[in-house]
């Protein structure tokens, strides 16, 4: 025998199930009067600095069908690349930008809509700058452990080419699964859970 480390194990995950909206976006599913508004519904206000953008996302299952009962959260830096959290030590983030958004999809179309701003660049641990990106967390019925991925911007070609995360992908053709094309002020990000176009998911 030897000494014990006395570490605990993380509580095991269980699926969010089909009724995740009751807990996380109750106003959207007609449970009104409990909370004044759904958390994460608004990321920006009139005073938020930076370029306003709309991001529309869809999630496809392995049979090619659009998933309509999922929930996506995003976490991103402000337009100067700072995170709105007390742990941010490089400066003070824009107080008019939360950096965190939570949306369920439209239950008919499966489209998730985030009204936000284009993020600035955030350093990698070795000091190189990462390309602007959104960090995503996806839960749904049939997903046993929340999926982590990122969204990058199609019109940041130079930054994307140097991005430390994108460039470490062994199969470089898969980087395209993380880059959202732009149409006007809207970026469209399609997430594929399986199949030939399977999105890159992270174990971080």
């Amino acid at each position: 025998m030897m000494q014990q480390l006395r570490r605990l194990k993380e509580t095991a995950s269980q699926t969010a199930g089909p009724y995740v909206h009751i807990g996380l976006t109750p106003n959207l599913c007609e449970i009104s009067g409990v909370y004044p508004e759904d958390l994460g519904a608004r990321m920006v206000n009139e005073k938020t600095r930076g370029e306003r953008i709309t991001v529309k996302m869809r999630i496809f299952d392995g049979a090619g069908a659009v998933i309509k009962d999922a929930l996506i959260e995003i976490w991103q830096a402000d337009s100067d690349g700072l995170y709105n959290t007390p742990a941010e030590t490089r400066g003070t983030a824009d107080p008019n930008f939360t950096g965190w958004g939570r949306q369920a999809s439209d239950m008919e179309t499966g489209v998730f809509t985030f009204e936000t701003i284009r993020p600035g660049r955030v350093p990698f641990p070795d000091g190189r700058l990462q390309a602007p990106h959104l960090t995503l967390w996806i839960v749904a019925r049939g997903i046993n452990l929340g999926l982590h991925t990122r969204m990058y911007f199609s019109d940041e070609e130079t930054a994307n080419a140097q991005d430390p995360v994108l460039s470490r992908l062994e199969h470089q053709d898969r980087a395209a699964t993380l880059i959202a094309p732009r149409e006007g002020d809207t970026y469209h990000f399609d997430i594929h859970l399986q199949g030939e176009k399977e999105t890159v998911f992270f174990d971080v």
Partner: protein
């Protein structure tokens, strides 16, 4: 210099064999919703180790009381009245303060207030099914609710969910984000549930089962269940470049 090891490093790698695998065909919905390619790893950056922070001031007075937060004045939800309490810890066994804990559940008959739930059991007009709280400086949380009912679901022809409460938790970093479910001590339905059985290790399931605690019950009002939750722990930065507080 502080004697405590400063925690500013990245989070421990997730033990993926402890969690249910993405593809678990006994739970049929996972078949087309499970990624098949290897997950990609990279050193955690600020995007992973930071996360949104929620203050106690955002909470309404009844946010942690599901017996009242959707009830008409003077009325309350139907069902066995319970208190659920516990501590949120990290893998280093340290309490985690400031954790937003959100929960949702079916009513005492096993029916959800959701337009996609068509189960025969009736809705309770006084029960919405959602609540939230934030852990205190010692990582403690509690809420009042009614014990939810078991319900059938379309998977096999006769699959039932054990009584359960869904939990969502935010730690201090976005990669600590966790959703899980709490079950009740002594429920024979737990071990027949295809969703529970996606978890490979029985010991991991046991940590999802809340314990009846009659010492924490409120006499003539509500029984209590204890449910502690563990989030991913952080590496100390002691062995890395900078020594904090030196």
């Amino acid at each position: 210099m502080k004697n405590a090891m400063p925690e500013a490093g990245g989070f421990f790698q997730r033990e993926r064999n402890w969690h249910p695998p993405a593809f678990a065909p006994g739970y049929k919905s996972t078949v087309v919703r499970s990624p098949r390619r290897a997950l990609i790893s990279f050193p955690q950056t600020l995007s992973e180790i930071t996360g949104p922070v929620f203050g106690h001031q955002m909470l309404g007075e009844l946010d942690n009381d599901l017996t009242l937060n959707h009830a008409r004045p003077g009325e309350s939800a139907i069902g066995p009245r319970i208190i659920v309490y516990g501590k949120v810890l990290d893998e280093n066994a340290r309490p985690v303060p400031g954790v937003l804990v959100e929960f949702w559940q079916a009513n005492a008959g096993g029916r959800y207030r959701h337009k996609k739930d068509g189960y025969l059991a009736p809705l309770d007009p006084n029960f919405g099914g959602c609540g939230r709280t934030i852990t205190d400086a010692e990582g403690n949380y509690f809420f009042r609710t009614i014990q939810p009912g078991a319900y059938p679901w379309p998977n096999g022809i006769n699959d039932w969910r054990p009584a359960h409460i869904h939990f969502s938790l935010f730690g201090h970093g976005f990669v600590q984000r966790l959703i899980t479910q709490m079950y009740f001590e002594g429920d024979p339905m737990i071990w027949q549930c295809p969703i529970v059985n996606t978890i490979p290790d029985k010991r991991a399931v046991e940590t999802l089962i809340a314990t009846l605690d009659m010492q924490a019950a409120v006499p003539m009002d509500a029984r209590a269940y204890k449910f502690d939750i563990v989030l991913r722990g952080r590496r100390a930065t002691l062995f890395e470049n900078k020594l904090e507080g030196n």
